[in-house]
Amino acid sequence: MITLQNLVKNFGKGDVITKVLRGINLEIKSGEFVSIMGKSGAGKSTLLYQMSLLDIPTEGEVIVNGINTEIFSEKERTDFRLRKLGYIFQDYALLPELSAVENVMIPLLMRGLTKKQASEKAIGALDAVNLAHRHDNRPAQLSGGEQQRVAIARAVAQEPEILFADEPTANLDTASGESVMKVMQELHKNKGQTIIMVTHELEYAAYTERVIELEDGQIISDRKLR
């Protein structure tokens, strides 16, 4: 599903260049639930951004479903993200002026669904993450855990081929964090959703079936948990 070939990402210019990813080679298959772990500065979020087409690597290739994404224009990358990929950000990234259901609906409307179809799908997604009673609440009226579940609903409602999650539990208390992880685990189990998650907490990585560990921009271990 995703193949990374000699992926390099550098920051800075001239003499001051920071090498964040140093030649990553990786393959993730459809239906896998993968966690990427590592210490702060190991390059795990940077790796996620390259895989999820939010950033462009300095060198190397990101191949998704056999398509080399190097050839994509900015507009094509945006469209590809809309149709194939889903995102869960660390800080939920909900639009403050929209209600929970509207937040979930916006990408669906962008994909061409009618308002009714988008609304039904958004409500279904929110119900699936146990937010049936929070449809019309705005983000400011929701707890952190609830906001993250709205973000999951937004990502899942689009039925993405790959769901990317960047430390989705980082801003949550333990109970909320576990609740979010259970939702993702159910998605994987029930729907076979491919999920790639960055985390630095082992207890959450334990929910996944494959753990990739990074250090100084290189993969130091890649092991299956189950």
Binding site: Y49, L54, D55, K75, T78, D79, R81, L82, R83, L85, Y87, F89, A93, L95, P96, E97, L98, E102, I106, P107, L109, M110, R111, G112, R154, A155, Q158
Partner: protein, 416 residues
């Protein structure tokens, strides 16, 4: 695809407006309203200042059509034929025939003891009128500020324009001579050629139209006897057309009837001094120049508003792009916002202009020294200005949004 982009852009824009701070929104709308008023009212008043003169010229002197003596002629030949013709032209409501002659007016001659002393005189034109028809055409009686208007039996009486009198036109005294201490009841002496006759001042006329305030008026019989005109020919005829009738068509009918063989037939506006027309064009340009400064200021304001809005929401813009919302939809959301501010502001401005300001200035013109200024805001011109305002607002809203949106998606999300 485009439809989805537009739909999402409209939703995002509308939601942002609905959830925006009401005071901020009100302030922006208020600025747009002021900009609109600046665009329409400033040039409208500058043009209206001259338009007030034009209207006054028509209402107080020329009527809708003015028939005058051809250059080089002493008066309109066959005036009675011209007047009889006017009686037959459809659309002519009424007219006033005037006989005009240059005169010298002298006052205070009775108290002048020293023959070497400079006489208190002014040179002007005296007009012989039928007071009833003149008043029905020009409403001249309305401009009497002292004494009374003439009636048909007032032989030996005259009306004097206020600009000939020192108490009304002290500033003119340095340029033109004025008569001192002349009031209703004062005796004055009028001289035409070698004919001199004493008249009693019955009233003083004060108007911002020189043809009223720089002339003397007397009964037509008095005029003919005094001047020695036996032909009953007149020098000018002011014609008023019926309501709803196009004066240009009546003018054509008058010309077609052969009147232009004896006289010059012009619409009121055609008879205006060319300088007035030039001033009107100049003021219109001046108004547009001043308005365009306001337009630039409002565009900059809108640019700043949208720029600040977009820069503070840069993270969310990044997120929207990150989850696949097209740049066009996000840009449109900001254009929708700026357009709505402009439409609401301009809408309120139009309401104020046409419901309050235009009727207000019509009822209570601004008292400028040389005219009663009104607000000229023709709908066609207003719509052009509105379109310019909307276009400039859309551009001013689009550019900052485009500047922020084109930045790297990830940098926007991470705020770097």
């Amino acid at each position: 695809m485009l439809r989805d982009t537009i739909r999402v852009g409209l939703i995002l824009g509308w939601k942002q407006i609905r959830r925006a701070n009401i005071w901020t929104t009100s302030l922006i709308v208020f600025i747009m309203m002021l900009t609109f008023l600046n665009l329409v009212v400033v040039s409208g008043i500058l043009v209206g200042l001259i338009e007030g003169s034009v209207r006054a010229y028509r209402n107080q002197y020329s009527g809708d059509i003015i028939i005058t003596t051809p250059t080089g002629e002493e008066y309109i030949e066959k005036s009675s034929t011209v007047l009889r013709t006017l009686d037959t032209i459809p659309g002519v409501r009424e007219y006033s025939a005037r006989a005009v002659e240059g005169v010298s007016v002298e006052a205070n001659y009775r108290i002048r003891r020293d023959p070497q002393e400079v006489r208190d005189t002014v040179a002007t034109r005296v007009v012989g009128i039928n007071p009833i028809s003149e008043d029905s055409v020009t409403n001249i009686a309305h401009y009497i500020v002292e004494g009374e208007y003439l009636d048909s039996s007032d032989e030996g009486f005259v009306l004097l324009g206020s600009n000939m009198l020192k108490q009304y036109a002290p500033d003119f005294g340095d340029i033109f001579p004025t008569l001192d201490n002349v009031h209703p009841g004062s005796r004055i002496r009028l001289t035409v050629g070698n004919r001199t006759k004493e008249f009693i001042v019955k009233g003083i006329l004060k108007s911002k139209v020189d043809e009223t305030s720089f002339r003397a008026f007397m009964l037509e019989n008095d005029f003919n006897r005094f001047v020695g005109r036996t032909s009953l020919n007149v020098n000018e005829v002011a014609v008023v057309v019926e309501d709803g009738v196009d004066p240009a068509k009546v003018k054509q009918a008058i010309i077609a009837s052969g009147v232009d063989g004896y006289a010059v037939v012009r619409l009121s506006r055609e008879a205006l001094p060319k300088a007035l027309e030039d001033i009107m064009i100049t003021f219109d340009l001046l108004g547009n120049a001043i308005s365009s400064i306001g337009l630039v200021v409002s565009s900059i304001t809108m640019f700043i508003v949208i720029f600040v809005n977009a820069i503070t929401r840069r993270k969310y813009i990044g997120i929207l792009k990150g989850i696949g919302i097209r740049a066009g939809a996000i840009e449109l959301s900001y254009v929708v916002q700026s357009l709505l501010y402009a439409v609401v502001g301009a809408g309120i401005g139009m309401f104020i202009t046409y419901v309050f300001l235009v009727p207000l200035f019509d009822a209570h013109p601004i008292n400028f020294p040389f005219s009663d200024g009104i607000l000229v805001a023709p709908l066609s011109g207003t719509l052009i200005r509105l379109t310019i305002l909307l276009i400039s607002t859309v551009v001013a809203g689009y550019i900052p949004a485009w500047m922020i949106i084109k930045r790297n998606t990830l940098d926007s999300i991470l705020g770097r």
